[in-house]
């Protein structure tokens, strides 16, 4: 039997409770994100002194270096923030909804739907710029996800397994169709190459403003479904016993996934690994509570994307590597290391 004095001595280093630890971790994640936002404004293909960066933001003038900050670094940083948040959160949502640690938004056909819609826009309508692709990609993602939801519904309601199978099947068909379209006119589809690599460069702020309100709505929907998804992690029957409305929760979650992942893909093109990896990291830190996982994913998603983008700028300077390629290089080894920890992949 231990004495009270011994208890105090043992507890002192563990004085921080689990909720406090999660909160501190969240603050640390927020500080990391803020630091990366600043770094993203300071680092680039050309050297610009911090004072000029400051002036570009707060004392603007018609100076070429200031234009470089305002027209290129600031938009790509903001796009990285929005896209990273959307990808991280949609990844956490889809993993919670399907109870599958390997799921990401692509499994519902979002990427395939976006790519197919952009291929149609390029090949049939002759659309030639990123701003034009964006709306086709967004509508394509929405349409395909609705189709997947309908295909994943039976008379007894919806099934996550059916939905995933429908998503994979529709995705396979649309990927084949996109390839057929692309090969039919390789020159026209030259233009799609940059978009398909996944990049946050060259997207002016004016282009992405219209997508921010729906993406904010997706954020709200995701957190609205978080509590119910916690209950659903125990199984549908137990969740129903706790009063969770399964169909309503799934519709909320799928709507949020579609808006978030569709919006992110529309702006940046298909970017892998962020939606897959970030929820794993979050789960490793905070455990199985979806509300915390979502909060961490919202902060860690853009951090991963911005780190990848900054690395892409300096790794082969003055050339740049699209962020979609860097996330794969950065994400793959980290994910392998993480999934080898039993705790990390537990849902």
């Amino acid at each position: 039997m231990t004495t009270p004095a011994t208890n105090i001595a043992v507890r002192t280093p563990r004085a921080v409770s689990a909720p406090q630890r999660r909160l501190l971790g969240l603050i640390a994640a927020l500080l990391l994100l803020l630091a990366l936002l600043v770094l993203s404004l300071l680092v680039g293909a050309t050297r610009i002194p911090p004072a000029v960066v400051w002036d570009a933001l707060f004392n603007p003038s018609a100076n070429i270096d200031q234009f470089a900050v305002r027209d290129y670094r600031l938009p790509r940083t903001m796009v990285g923030l929005a896209v990273g948040m959307a990808l991280g959160l949609s990844g956490a949502l889809i993993q919670a909804l399907t109870r599958n640690p390997l799921a990401e938004s692509g499994i519902l056909g979002v990427n395939a739907g976006s790519s197919f819609a952009v291929a149609l826009a390029v090949g049939v309508l002759g659309v030639r710029d990123i701003a034009g692709y964006m709306w086709f990609a967004f509508v394509g993602a929405l349409a395909v996800t609705i189709m997947v939801m309908l295909l994943g519904s039976t008379r007894r309601g919806q099934s996550s397994v059916l939905m995933v199978l429908a998503g994979v099947s529709v995705g396979a068909v649309l990927t084949g169709a996109t390839t057929a379209l692309t090969l039919s006119d390789p020159y026209a589809f030259d233009q799609m190459r940059g978009w398909r690599a996944g990049s946050i460069v060259g997207r002016p702020l004016a282009m992405i403003w219209p997508l921010l309100p729906p993406m904010a709505l997706g954020l709200v929907l995701a957190f609205a479904a978080a509590g119910a998804l916690n209950a659903m992690a125990l199984g549908d029957d137990l969740a129903m016993a706790q009063g969770v409305r399964l169909v309503r929760t799934r519709v909320l979650a799928v709507a949020a996934i579609t808006i978030l992942a569709g919006g992110a893909t529309a702006v940046a093109g298909p970017i892998g690994f962020v939606g897959l990896m970030v929820p794993h990291v979050a789960r490793w830190i905070v455990g199985p509570d979806q509300r915390w996982i979502f909060a961490y994913s919202v902060l860690l998603g853009p951090s991963l994307l911005l780190v990848s983008d900054i690395l892409g700028r300096i790794a082969m300077a003055p050339n740049e590597i699209p962020v979609g390629i860097v996330t794969a290089f950065v994400g793959a080894p980290v994910l392998i290391a993480l999934v080898r920890r039993r705790k990390a992949s537990t849902l």
Partner: protein, 388 residues
Amino acid sequence: MTKTNPNSKRALTAMFLSVAIFLSACGGGAATSTPAPSATATRAPQASSAAPSAAAASSAAASAVARAAAASSVAPSAAAASSAAASAPAAASASAAGGTPAASGTRQVKADNGMITVPANPQRIAAIGNASLPFIDLGGKPLGVTTIQPSLLELVPKEQKAIYDAATNLGPSGGAVDLEKLASLKPDLIMAQMPTADFDKIKDKLQSIAPTVYYGLGTEWKAFADGLAAAGNRTEALAKQKADFEARIKSIKETYRETIANTTFVALDRYDSSAAGVFVVTHIGCVEIAKDEIGLNLPARTAGATEERSFEQIGDLDKYGAILYPVDAAGQPKTAFAPVVGSNSWKALPAVTSGRALGIYCPGNNSYGAVLTYLGSLENALKALPKK
């Protein structure tokens, strides 16, 4: 912008069918994937560019150059009259222009696939891959062509584009030519330029349809023009173009000797395939002619044919004395390059505000006519370049 490609329509129909099959089979979960035809995109990046000017006419040496051109690419065939072999192309060209039936007889043309025996006066020519526009530039009217990259086609003079549009489209690229459609045209000569790997796959089939002269992508543009002219019986037109070319080069070098010696240039471009927010410093295309023939002081080629630059680096361009950028025949920035010109950084660049950013029109770098147009545009730009 809104042009619908017939190949896209076919693929679209096939794709909708596959989606319909998939949806109808959804209950059973059977998915039918669309078979994807193999194709390889062949793309020779080139500088392009603006104010077209009429090429100087100089025909004094035309016949001499014609003979030189014939000698370089045409060897007498055993089947042809030996003594007439060298001069036959020019004569045949004249009769071809008059629309007379194909003359009997053949001759041999040196190509990358060997000495090829071709009709002395071919009448039904298919020009596929990168051979399409250079042959049209020589005054040829091919029956069949393959798709040209839209960003290149937008720079081609209207009359040449009309000839290209009038020809039957045989497929998305030289390597993906529709052989059945090609055979149905009953060509008496096929001209081709494409990657060797693509040609190797179809060369036997092409040869079985008609005599095929093939040139690889590495063929120097002047030798390529020689070969096409010899095979297509356009040596007279080539001779005039060559004479004009030599005269124009000499004129530019003499007139702008000081500017050429004292100015550092950089050539920029951007392609349809370029990622957003990226342009390139280019070392290939028409700029090679500016460097090799005129002697413009351009950056040394250190790495690849082009060097990608972020829009952030537009400010770094000010270290050059003059910037060459691609424009179309009307002097407007090439569509793919327009985002660079529209950026705030470009507008604030001292080289731009002081008139040292020069729009150059380059309709092609693979034939004399196109190069002459480029030289005319370059000369106009040099004339407009402010003195230091």
